[in-house]
Each structure stands twice: as C-alpha cells, then as structure tokens.
Symmetry: C2
DNA sequence: ACTGTTCCCGTAGGGTATACGGAATCATGG
DNA sequence: CCATGATTCCGTATACCCTACGGGAACAGT
C-alpha cells in the first residue's frame, strides 16, 4: 500500500472510459500523446533517452507539465509497455491450429521487440496490468486450453511457451539494438575478439568445446540462436501435444525441420 | 574496431597471467579488489549504485583512481559479471547423468541470480569472454554431447536449455529484488491491484482466462512460475533424450569439416 | 640525486527525476 | 463584466552520474 498511487490502472484502461470533463482549463496534450511521444523517442534513442525533459521538449511543453498527465516516469514506462503489447494485435482465431497460433504469437512478439528494443530494459515480473498484457495472457491460455490439456497444466504450458518466446525475442532485439547503436554487427564483434581463441582459450580446460569445434559444430551467432529457438520451441510444443494425445509415440528422427518452425515466417 | 580497447580480454583472464612488474609506483589496490567492491555494492544497492564514485569511496581512493585498474565502468561490469559466472563453480562430473547435470546447472544459475539480482540488468548477447562464461559453455556442451546427440544439434540443445534456465532464473531474481527493494511481496502486490478484476477486467473479452479461473486453474505467482519452469524444462530434456534413445551412444570425436566461424557463440 | 615508470586524483561539463507553490486559462452563474 | 472554482502549466532547486585531461607523487635501480 505504501507506494501504490491507484492512478495507474485507470490510465492503463483509459480507452474503456471515455469520461470527459468540461470544467477547468482545457489540456493542450493527452495521455496518448505523451505515451506515443515516449515510445517514439525510446524507439529512436533508447529508454534512457525518453526522459521527462526530452519527452516534454518533443511535445513543446515544459518538463513539469507532463506530471499532470502521468504520475511518474515509472508509470509512463508502464503505459508505453502496455501500449506496444496491445499493438501486436493478438486476436484469437478458433480456426487456426495450436502450432499456428504459437507461431503467430512468436512472430508478433519478436517483431515487437525488434521494433521497440527498449522492452528488454523493462522487467515484466510485475507487468503493467493493462489491455495489452491481458490480451497476451488470454491468447496463450486460449491456445493451450483448446488442446484439451488438464486444467492444472494449462497455465504452466502457457507460461513456459511465453517465457521461451520472450527470451529469444529479447535476445534478437538486443542484438539488433547493439548493431545499430554500436554500428557493429555481432559477427564483426566476434572477429574483433579473435584474440580470445588465439591467446587465452585453454584447449585442455575445454575439451567438449574443442571437440565440437573440430567437428564443425559451431556456426554464426545468428544461426545458433535461430536454430536453438526453433529446436527448443518444437520440443516444447511436441511435448505439450504428446501429453494430450497418448496414442502418438515419439519418433526420434523427427526434429525441427522446415515447415514446422515457429519463428516469424 | 572503433571502440574495442583490447584491454578487457587481458583483464578477464588476469588470473592466468601472474606477470608482475616491479618498476614504478606500487599500486594500493588491485583489479580483484575493485571488482569485488563493485559486486558487493551492486548486491546491496543495485547495479546503478555501483557507480565509479561509490566504488572508489568504498575503497578509500578518489574516483579517478579506479581508471588505473579498469578502462571504464562498462568494462568493470563485464568483469563483475564474469566473476560471478565463474563463482558458480560449474565443474564437469562424468559420473553424473544428463538430468543431474542440468539440474546442477539450473540450481547454481538460479542461486547466482538471486544472490546477484543486478545480473538481470546486464545483457548477455555479447557477453564477457572470460573464464566464467567459457566454463558455462563448456559445462553445457559437455553435458549435451555426452548424450550422443548429432553434432549439428549439440549447440542448439545446449543453447535452448541455457536460455530457458536463464529466463526463469532472471525472473526469480527480479522477484526477490523487488520484494526487498519495495518491501512488498508479489502476493501483496497482486492483492493491492485487485481493482483490476473488480473494476476493469472484461469477462467477455477474456473467455479462456475466465473459464480457467472458474476451474481453479490459477494459483499464486510463485507456484505458477516454479511449475512452468519444471514443466517446460522437463519437456525440453525429454525431447532431447528421446531424440537419441535408439543409438544411445556418444561419439565425441566424430569427423566433420572444421569450424568455419569465428567462435562458439 | 637522477631517470624511467607507474599510480593517484582535482577539475570541469552536461546529463537525470521530481516536490513545491504560484500563475495562467477555461466554463459558468450572476 | 466580474467572481468563482477547477484544472493545467511550469520555474526553481537539489543531489546525483561518467570520464577526458594533465600534473603531482611515489617507487626501483643506478
């Protein structure tokens, strides 16, 4: 109770409450304008660039004016997050099958992170409880529940998939951000650090890596990441589907191959 | 090449290079002392509290003195990260079975994050290339390779598991940090926001959530997270083990083309 | 005492969030 | 036209942050 202003929930759900006032001095801005400006600046120059001073300057008002629209910068960031979560446009399609729904979710979530890399700077442990956040939970729970999983496992499965998708989406976004911020690709970053292998890497202390290296098991960072994502996500989805179709047995050779991948395609 | 000082790799691997100089004024501190102080402060008050001024003050020297030991604050953070990665003490145990190794990795990684919650503020997309980071890669690759997975899938599987474990370890750490920082448990945070369900939640727009709720499918945040972690990790491990079941033999030394990329990423 | 080397650190500059209180601007009623 | 109430607008002040630069201090060896 200490810090909770109680003002953030009405702000998050402001679009379901068209209540307007007619008394007093009319506002020059709106909450939406402030949130949109914050997103625009954070997209361009990072979350820390979206300072109250910078947002206000972009909107042509003084810094303190923003505080009549949002209670604090932390609340503004919550509003920005829920805004882009909602902008994914996750909508339940009862016709689509399970894997198609998950692929849709993964593709939109990855695109969202790449478009708004500052999302990786925000913790979602206590997320903004707005329409965007709830739309995500509804979408994933509906997708899993439609499979007919036991009640106890529905939310487990939805959360496991969500966490996995977010982890790789954040990684991609971070990679894209570093590329544009530092002007250097991950590939050239590794090349620049070639000294690691030449001078510091101890072959005897790392036999498994050395063996895998000699066997050609390492590829570019991008391939590794994308491969791990498709591989792992397919394992999760296979396991979830299998637990609901006991008749179907596992086929060891069947792995993540084209046609079943869940990335944005 | 623009920004790379070339000084960070020698610092990361400083313990393999006991080279000492005897000329010039003897130092009052050491790189280890600076790194340790940084970790201590970040543990107590967060990563942003571990400023150059604060670390210097804790060590009883002027701020600028630190720059004799580390090139920049970003490099200091890299050193702090690799230090705690190494402190997990991941050691390869050929006797243990696959699931025991992964459980060991997960337990140590989670404990590390809870002890050093500031890790969640650090991106590991371009990680510190030091002993701690390499020990982790060696450990996971050794664990997966021992199963006898095809070369092409070893790193995929290792990375998928690592990403999944880190995602939940970060979540736990973030939760612990928020609890101690805000003095409020996640449970009471949710209770405080009960207005969401009473006033803003639209039942018709969220049928799947509503159904699951009425069926008793939601539990405390802690139970949900822990359940999702165990459930998802087991699906990953099941799938990996299953894909190798028939052959059941490890061949680490298989011949293949040499690695054609910069390094294990 | 001199030299080479290294460590130590003061200064200066351009950033950040927000509490507080007063000024400005509107609709309305008389 | 003026008074009133409600609301928006914003200037000020505070205490932090990182690090480039360059000069002074302290040591070993001769």
């Amino acid at each position: 109770m200490a810090n909770f202003s109680g003002r953030i929930l009405p702000l998050l759900w402001r679009h379901t409450q068209p209540a307007r006032r007619t008394t007093g001095r009319p506002p020059r801005l709106s909450v939406d304008a402030v949130v949109t400006a914050g997103i625009r600046i954070a997209d361009a120059d990072g979350l820390e660039a979206a300072s109250m001073a910078r947002v206000a300057a972009d909107l042509g008002v003084a810094t303190m004016t923003l505080y009549t629209y949002v209670p604090s910068r932390a609340d503004l960031i919550d509003l920005m997050v829920d805004e882009v979560l909602a902008a994914r446009g996750l909508t339940h399609d009862p016709e689509a099958d399970f894997r198609a729904k998950v692929a849709d979710f993964a593709g939109r979530t990855r695109a969202m992170h790449v478009a708004h890399p500052w999302l990786t700077d925000v913790s979602l442990v206590r997320p903004p409880l707005g329409p965007g956040m709830l739309a995500e939970r509804e979408f994933m729970i509906a997708a899993v529940a439609a499979l007919g999983l036991p009640v106890e496992r529905v939310n487990r499965a939805a959360l496991a998939i969500t966490a996995f998708v977010y982890a790789f989406a954040r990684e991609d976004a971070e990679d894209a951000r570093l590329r544009s911020t530092s002007g250097q690709s991950t590939e050239s970053w590794w090349l620049e650090r070639n000294e690691l292998w030449e001078r510091w890497f101890d072959v005897e202390a790392h036999p498994a890596m050395t063996t895998l290296w000699n066997a050609g098991g390492f590829h570019s960072a991008e391939e590794q990441t994308q491969g791990a994502f498709e591989y792992g996500l397919n394992l999760l989805l296979d396991g979830i589907e299998r637990s609901v179709q006991p008749g179907r047995q596992a086929e060891p050779g069947r792995q993540a191959e084209p046609g079943r991948q869940a990335g944005p395609g």
